[in-house]
Amino acid sequence: MGARHVAEHFSAAYDGELSAAERRRYEEHLAACAECTAAAEQFRQAIDAVHAMPAAQMPQRVVLPSTPPQVEPGRGLGARLRELLPALRLTPAWGAGVMAAAGIVAVVLVVHGHSGGGVNSTASAPLSDQQQVLGQNAAGGAARKSSPIGVGTCPLPQAVVTAQPGAVAADPPGFANRVSVGDPKRPGQQLVLATTSGHYAPGSQVLVYAALTTPSGQHATVIPCVTLHDQGAVAFLPGAGTMYGASGGIAAQGSSADTATGTSNGTSGSGSGAAGPGSAPTPSPQASGAESATAMNGSAQHPPGAQAPAAIAPPLAAGLSPLQYQAFSPYTLQPPLAIAAPTAAAVANLPLQVLQIPAGITPGTQLRLVALIPAGFPGNNDSAAVEAVLTIVVS
């Protein structure tokens, strides 16, 4: 090391990581260099002081989903899904043909989402390589060849689970930001949409609980597709052009203006009020279309460079049967910012999904999580569509 000072070796020397030869040269230098000797001593004191800081204790309990993780030994999710398929009707992300072959009731609505700067699909989430995405596994080859679950594909609903009564908790602990919606045409059913917090950072992941629960004795629980939208962008428009839920809060879809919209049950749970302002469960009469709703909120709610989503109609060309198309005909779907993907935990009886807040969203922006059960699900063509909306704030 000669005349060169040896500060770059302080760290390795502190940890005893210098080789014997390095250490000998290091010590020779220190013996001859008062400056380095003083600096090394000061270095040691500083790092010692960091070591001497006391350990801290986690001040609160870690909250976990109440249902134990349902994982069986030595078997992949794919195998489990195939086994569950008779009970668990999964919609592939693409391809009505696959569904028809499987005799699956649910239909697929293909949405061409915008993909402006900063908008990430769920599939590109940091954890996505560690998370099982139900749709991808269940859909088989057809889905794998197409785009991954995320912006652009939203199975509606995600699954219909023929569950034992009470298998799905209607009130999951830890999910305080919660909304519950009922509809007169769906007696005894509650669409629950909940998150663990009302505030999320750009790019962070949101754990979503979403389920249409049914009273004991009925056989199905529906896990809805959950989408993330700009505050002003409405997810679904009735054909007449009346808009619901532009101000956030709860909106439930009726087939006409004088039909009960299903908001009568209102919110329940303590957390929903904290989700943000504008949670009044009212239609937004002043808004006459999706574009004006988007404009109301300005471009600040979009990532830089992203286009405001435009409303698009359900694609007739998607291979839907007339009956299936009818189920969607009252709606126009807004391209969402993100679409939730079920986690592996959702396979059994915990309807947990994950979606990612786009990284480019400006902090302070209010976003809306929308869970939608189309009319006729599950298994009853008379039942009304029901929609739950939860406001979250990007912070």
């Binding site: 990581e17 001497a52 204790q57 134990p68 998370q131 950072a201 754990l207 902090p363």
Partner: protein
């Protein structure tokens, strides 16, 4: 019971085993996040998020080092929080209610307690002055006592990167603390 056995049981649906892992690691992860981020609320958020992610990813957590994986997730969660705060840097004096700066012992005199608090605040400020990557390296090594190899695994960076980051981070930290007279009261143990 070792981590891997607990993980295996948790993967078979034993929530008590997962809880045992939480109890085993929550304090050290909290300490890490507290030193990285500086505020208890953020640190608690990081720990909560870490275990939630771990829980949800149980099916994929096969043959991994539980500790290394948890640290990796916690560091990433801390980065998320840090990013959130870029526009709103935390003011250490504003929300400091004493919880930020744990006192080493309750039975020291008020003078010693004040000195300890002053020292802790000096270190905190010096840490917060480091770039995040450097701060992570110092905290994992000097607060959480991870080995170089464990840090490399947790951060998924080469060993050489760990060494060079740690070296630069510690030098910068020592420089920042050079003018803190409180340090001279510290009895070294290294």
């Amino acid at each position: 019971m070792d981590d891997e056995s607990l993980l295996e049981q948790a993967r078979h649906g034993d929530s008590a085993a997962f809880t045992a892992l939480v109890e085993r690691y929550q304090d050290e992860l909290y300490t890490m996040a507290l030193r990285l981020l500086g505020t208890p609320a953020d640190a608690a958020d990081v720990v909560q998020e870490t275990f939630l992610r771990a829980y949800m990813n149980l099916p994929k957590l096969r043959s991994v080092s539980v500790r290394g994986w948890l640290y990796r997730v916690a560091v990433n969660a801390s980065r998320d929080v840090q990013r959130r705060h870029v526009r709103r840097p935390a003011d250490p004096l504003e929300d400091d209610d004493g919880k930020v700066l744990e006192l080493p012992s309750q039975d020291v005199g008020p003078e010693a307690a004040a000195e300890a608090r002053e020292r802790a605040e000096a270190i905190r400020a010096a840490l917060m002055g480091l770039p995040l990557d450097y701060r992570v390296a110092v905290v994992l090594r000097d607060v959480n006592d991870l080995s170089y190899e464990e840090i490399a695994e947790a951060l998924r960076v080469p060993l050489g990167t760990v060494k060079s980051r740690l070296s630069r981070a510690r030098l910068q930290l020592a420089t920042a603390l050079r003018d803190s007279p409180v340090l001279f009261a510290v009895e070294g143990h290294g």
